[in-house]
């Protein structure tokens, strides 16, 4: 069976993994147009090339990123998503007291 290198669990059978789609930047759902949202949700390049994709290692519930060639099925690298999201998310709304 084909194997994939999970950044958390090492080499595992491909049947343990679930494909999650191309990595794309999500538009802000509150401000983007319907067309932009549809574009994000449904439309894709679907090209023959090296593609950066989300994958899930199902038994451990761990999401990561793989770079794979969609023509040869060669998996070039896999890494933890923190590499993409290394910046800290700042919550701008000030914490307010919740009244019962």
């Amino acid at each position: 069976m084909k194997m994939m290198n999970c950044p958390l669990n090492g080499l595992r059978n491909i049947s343990e993994f679930v494909h999650g789609g191309e990595v794309k930047e999500m538009p802000d759902p509150n401000s983007c147009s319907d067309k932009e949202w549809a574009d994000y949700v449904f439309f894709s390049d679907n090209a023959i090339s090296v593609v950066t994709e989300w994958w899930l290692h199902a038994p451990s519930g761990y999401w990561f990123i793989a770079e794979r060639h969609t023509g040869s099925d060669e998996i070039l690298k896999t890494y933890d998503p923190s590499v993409l999201f290394s910046e800290r998310v700042e919550f701008s709304a000030p914490a307010t007291e919740v009244k019962a």
């Binding site: 679930v18 319907d34 390049d45 679907n46």
Partner: protein
Amino acid sequence: MPFSLLKYGLNKDYPFEQHADLPKPTVLKSHYDVVIIGGGGHGVATAYYLAKYHGINNVAILEKSYLGGGNTARNTAVIRSNYLTSEGVKFYSESVKLFKELSNEFDFNIMYSQRGQLTLAHTDAAVRGFRQRAEVNKHFGGKTELIDPQQIRELVPTLNMNPADMPVLAGLWHMDGATARHDAVAWGYAKGATQRGVELHQLTEVTDVIVEQGKVTGVKTNRGNVSCGCVVQAVAGHSSLLAAKAGFKMPITTFPLQAMVTQPVKPFLDPLVSSPSLHCYVQQTGRGELVFGGGSDPYPLYSTRSTMDLKESLLANAVELFPFMANMRLMRQWAGLTDITSDYSPIMGLSPVDNYYLDAGWGTWGFKSTPICGKSMAEMVASGGKVPELIKPFSMDRFNSFRQVNEMGATAASH
């Protein structure tokens, strides 16, 4: 006879050339009114209806490989109309009607064989879904019923009624279910189209699409450039790649779909049998072979390789349905590239580029639609881009307005 056979045997030339069905390849002209990209069933059907019913025959079909060598040659030929949505059922029912008449229309046998399709429910939810499908189907004139385990036993005595410990609760019995010889469908259309003046250019790959001021004006090929009035794109698994050349994206992902066939045995199985829960369908061909198919591969890929994993998972379930098949030998296996949409319905109609028409998103279910899709596409081309009512719900724009036509449940492992 033996003498003439011997003569043919020693002859260096192929003796039947003068009777060939398709005209010899000609030079590629510099202009056509209509260019059809893709010489699969859909492309040649569109050309046929254009020439026969609309008198438009300055048409070139450009095929990068050979006639019908794509998914048209690779599918398992299930023809049915027992879908879920009224848009879907209406559309596919028209195709079933055309298929029944196709051998007469061509004066060429496409081996249409109506033996009914039986889909198995192993859960209450599936029974509810089947009830709805039966009603929608009957409403549009189809012959579909919900049947009980006793009726299933009578239809298919060899079926294990408790496969993989998932008892069969009911069946969707679709009497219109059929198969046809897929190659013959492509040949029949190609022959009819070329006899009426359409040119079929095999080994002619479209390498780029020429768009000027938002309108298509021609295509580039490995045999030179061709200008044209309009283009119909019918390239199945390669849809997104062609669209990219024309400058837009599609809501399509390309997945391999595999199928396989056993050695021939005596006839024992009349209906087509499918189990969505077991991701598996089985049918016996006129030659006695058993054809197995299932769902697409689990992740996108542009490769028609076959995998051991799919064989193991698919055949394990097939053997659950028919345990005595465990000792049979596989003869052939293959795969095709399927263009899957997220709602499991096709994309037919206009594109963001003027005069560039789409016939795509046929995924694992588009053989059965070959006649009606070709007829509708021809109507649209002949009217200069007026989309026929029947195919309006399947525009690519439905994804922008979130009006999908959901056929996922009715497609899953039945095609």
